[in-house]
Symmetry: C4
Subunit: 231 residues, 4 copies
């Protein structure tokens, strides 16, 4: 992927989060990484979406440092960078405040697999992080937000559950490409919306069986994927 292609894809992912109603005002950001060079491209901070161009995407390194001084990178850069460092399979990260994912993050409710759409995209419960400590907040807050996400995924393949709910804050979502990360963010919101409504009727809802989770997730992601016109 050329720098130009990645810039366009990262811009598109940022615009798509608005188009799909996943962010309020400018409260969101998307980034992508070129794994060969280790270079991250991320939305600049506080620039209105409708004036963004591919050239505005800010190049940064894996330590979360901007590589030029034209525009300041998103204030959430350090969270993105730690996810790229610790989850080597991912190629894009998105932070949104989509309505129901944010509600579940504030209610500190993990989202179990209650239905087949969940199972098509997320291979199990979408977790909530623990709360950050006052020390973690007062020093390196953004970096520590990334670290607590990584801690939450101990023993979980981040590509099999490509989203997390940061307690009291909102969702981070990822994927192999910016386009996939956007798609995962859209599905996360749908899954969170459905789960909220199920839980409002039934505080202890019954997850689908492991067999059904396997059937749906592996149909789309396993070696024997059977969906679509391909193969």
């Amino acid at each position: 992927m050329t720098d130009e292609t990645l810039r366009a894809a990262v811009l598109q992912a940022n615009l798509d989060t608005v188009r799909y109603g996943l962010v309020l005002s400018t409260f969101g950001n998307a980034s992508g990484i070129d794994r060969e060079t280790g270079r991250i491209l991320i939305k600049p901070s506080g620039v209105p979406y409708d004036s963004l161009t591919p050239e505005d995407m800010v190049p940064c390194d894996l330590d979360g440092r901007a590589l030029d001084n034209r525009l300041r990178p998103s204030s959430d850069l350090a969270t993105h960078a730690v996810l790229y460092r610790e989850f080597p399979g991912i190629g894009a990260v998105i932070h949104t405040h989509s309505t129901y994912a944010t509600i579940m993050a504030q209610a500190r409710r993990p989202i179990p697999a209650l239905g087949t759409t969940h199972a098509d995209y997320f291979y199990g419960t979408i977790p909530v992080t623990r709360d950050l400590t006052p020390d973690e907040i007062s020093e390196d807050y953004v970096l520590n937000t990334g670290k607590v996400i990584v801690e939450t995924f101990a023993g979980i393949d981040p590509l099999s559950i490509p989203a997390v709910l940061v307690a009291g804050h909102g969702p981070f979502v990822w994927g192999r490409t910016p386009d996939e990360a956007v798609h995962n963010a859209v599905i996360l919101e749908e899954v969170a919306r459905t789960a909220w409504h199920v839980m409002a009727l039934n505080p202890e809802p019954q997850p689908i069986s492991q067999a059904l989770l396997d059937r749906h997730y592996l149909r789309k992601h396993g070696a024997q994927a059977t969906y679509g016109q391909g193969n």
Copy 2:
């Protein structure tokens, strides 16, 4: 109904599920059957809605086999086929993930007749299937989804209650024609939305009386139908 007419009607039913907001992404499918020839026409798998043409509807037989190799049929074909085999009065089947019907399917809540709009279209409680067993899921999952629907309708006329909620999954809806099936799917979503809100206030809501159910259902479907400008 000519093959051409049915192709157009099945395409229209697929497009209508999008137009009425009943599906997310490409997660839905509609089919129709020519009862004289026993030939089913169904949406192809994974093709974007906005490029679908009548010629893309995939012809299949009642055993759920595609009759040509141009496009792969919807991955839910086997469910449609068993419904056509076992419910001889129906002429069309639609699978959606409409919001509230899916919520009720995941909450495993049958939808009792709580109001007159329900009674205008569904002559009693819209049932939820039992969960499939791990064996039913690992082998012939799609076929078994259809079989568990048929099992759920033991003793129920499928044309008097033209919808079912598949537990942990979502709704299947049917009708005598593709157009009627779409209309039933729209009403199901409205009825599910109303029922969810009633149940959120009142976990054990009071269904309408049998007399009121009779009055509304039979007004539209019985021999003495009195609605509209006809007769």
Copy 3:
């Protein structure tokens, strides 16, 4: 008001119920009355909204009989007629299936005055009718729907509370003119929506005080009305 003016106003009221999202499909109807002649004009039954003309409004008498044979009147005519007979101050009646008013009707929850918008339009609790008996349903159902509304308003001035929730069915709303009845139907839906959400948090919500109810209702409807640019 000339016949022509009333026809136009009744048509507009029917179209407005669609424009404001108060009806699903063709499930609604509005009527108006010329009190000098006692002639009711009502929407015809089952005609699509977008082809309605003023001339299609069906003239009827106060006994609920159509005065010509061109189009069949709305199947709810008998309910409208009894309201006109028993509530002499009203000049228009609307039946909708607006979302939250219908939910409250199905949950059989009267809507107490929980806020000032309620108080601006409804001088107290919006009541729910009792259920009709099987006999009332099997014989003269539509007429008896009107009668149970009238029974519910024993001791209540129908112009001070211009709406009712028919149990297990939906709302009927009225006003001095078709335009006012539409406005009341819009406010009813807003008030029902707010009340539903308040009751979902708090099953026994606290109504506003009589003093606040008086202040808001009488500001708009009493002799000392102070709102607007008039007087």
Copy 4:
């Protein structure tokens, strides 16, 4: 700020409350003040939004008296005036009936800081006023609405929590400028919507920590603000 500029800004704030869906019909009003002259400009009463011009904004003094007789000022003027008198740092006031803020006001539920978006704009719990007494309602109701808001903010900096929920009524919001007040009203509605959904799942939700509240509020409002391209 010239009179002309303020007139345009107050008109825009009134139009924005409609554009952002914060008012129903004409039930809202926005005002601004020129602190040098002590002159308030406020929306006229009962004039349709789409015919409003800057010249229609009614000039008033800090005692809540109109300074000319062209149009009658909003019937809520006395509430605005007392807020300007008692909260010297504010430059604009908006009254809306936005959906979820009104619901929380009717449910008498203060909105604790449950998430970071709340913390970005409101430095703590958004309070609900006590109910007005019958005497406060029957005499000088509008003025007393302002006084009970001021009473509610005893010990609270109104610029750090620029909104209040008036019990059984709805929100009042303010800011240093009309534009900022509109932005605060939009965020209030979003925050109220999220809080309602969190509370519906969890009646006693857990607020974010003081450390997280500090981190987010002070990032945008403190001396070390780090957001945006500025500094």
